[in-house]
Symmetry: C2
Subunit: 227 residues, 2 copies
Amino acid sequence: VIDLQTIHKNYRMGSETIRALNGVDCRIDANEYVAIMGPSGSGKSTLMNIIGCLDRPSAGEYWLDGQNVSKLNDKALARVRNRMIGFVFQTFNLLSKSNALQNVETPLLYGGVGRRERRNRARQALERVGLDDRTFHKPSELSGGQRQRVAVARALVNDPAILLADEPTGNLDSRTGEDIMALFEELYSAGQTIILVTHEPGIAVRAKRHIHLRDGEVTEDYLLENS
Amino acid sequence: VIDLQTIHKNYRMGSETIRALNGVDCRIDANEYVAIMGPSGSGKSTLMNIIGCLDRPSAGEYWLDGQNVSKLNDKALARVRNRMIGFVFQTFNLLSKSNALQNVETPLLYGGVGRRERRNRARQALERVGLDDRTFHKPSELSGGQRQRVAVARALVNDPAILLADEPTGNLDSRTGEDIMALFEELYSAGQTIILVTHEPGIAVRAKRHIHLRDGEVTEDYLLENS
Ligand SMILES: Nc1ncnc2c1ncn2[C@@H]1O[C@H](COP(=O)(O)OP(=O)(O)OP(=O)(O)O)[C@@H](O)[C@H]1O
Ligand SMILES: Nc1ncnc2c1ncn2[C@@H]1O[C@H](COP(=O)(O)OP(=O)(O)OP(=O)(O)O)[C@@H](O)[C@H]1O
Ligand SMILES: [Mg+2]
Ligand SMILES: [Mg+2]
């Protein structure tokens, strides 16, 4: 369902060119559970942004669910993204003027879901991440781990086929992190495709396939033995 | 050097009162290395903000280096903070319009350090966290872990007596996280007081004393055996 062909992403900084992704080939089928790992700055978030249709490659092609994403205009791209993809950002990217409930409702607004159903679905999503007692708090009135969980709830509320999670437990204690991983397990069993970036081996071990990045290139890509 | 006496921090949300800190007593001597741990939402960042003079308690007293901090006005508080404390925030709090070098220089500006010395010291701090090739990047042009390291560099540049680090390795792969922990070890050996919040046992084990929080209260406070 995800087919990346020789993907490059370059940034021009004055006279220098930074090759954030330097020729990445990668195919991920539906209902796979993949962990992307690698050193700080190796291109993980950049790769996630391209998979998540939030950014376009400098070169190469990206086929998502049989469509050549690079050929879509911004409006069509946004529609595909809203329909298929849930994204947990490394830096959360919550709306600071909206409370937790409103933040989680956002993807449903875009999908044209009615007000009452939006409210219910957002409430349920917050409940699933243990935040039903924080629905009316704004991000500045939440702890770091609570903001992270609002970001997770928002990514799930639209029941996306593909969940992309960039360091989803980075700010969570082990028990709360476990709850989130258990939630991902449920989604995976229900048929979702899960791609997560993590630097924690204890988290990565839950995935079925590992992809390692270094300096914008894939250095390893393997299935886990006993999974 | 840090003496917290029956510290309370409350937030009023409509008719409800959230007790982020519910009677915390805690004394930390100079040149201690403390790890604060606890579930998401237990009050760790709130406690750090009070220790770091960024927030005032709702009740209780805080004596820092022999001064009753609660009695200082904002200007005097800012002076004490700038002189004694380096803070790595859980959400980095970098200036988005400034590049890495300018961000790291910020505490030195406040301390009235001359331009050339500021530049050199900021450059050195960035070098110590492995970012000498990213000095002119703005936060939006940096990876999550690179932003985290800029936040660490900024906290160190003023040679503060007390380093407060809230989840300083949350966005770092293990090798880069190791480099940061080795840096903290150096500072500790040089006499600094280090207080870090972490949820990773592999990081916490480097500290000499552990304090556990739950629901705004200290539930455990012990020295590590073989340290
Ligand atoms: N401005 C605020 N208004 C209302 N409640 C707040 C505010 N700031 C924090 N809280 C609440 O206070 C509690 C403690 O927050 P704090 O940020 O200290 O937790 P934490 O231990 O750092 O959590 P985490 O590990 O998730 O970062 C949380 O339950 C949070 O929702
Ligand atoms: N807008 C930009 N302009 C210039 N360079 C950039 C930009 N965005 C990212 N980079 C660079 O591209 C490289 C890859 O960034 P990316 O965010 O993908 O890394 P990452 O693997 O997610 O790292 P981390 O684990 O620290 O989050 C980094 O070296 C970064 O400095
Ligand atoms: Mg990243
Ligand atoms: Mg916190």
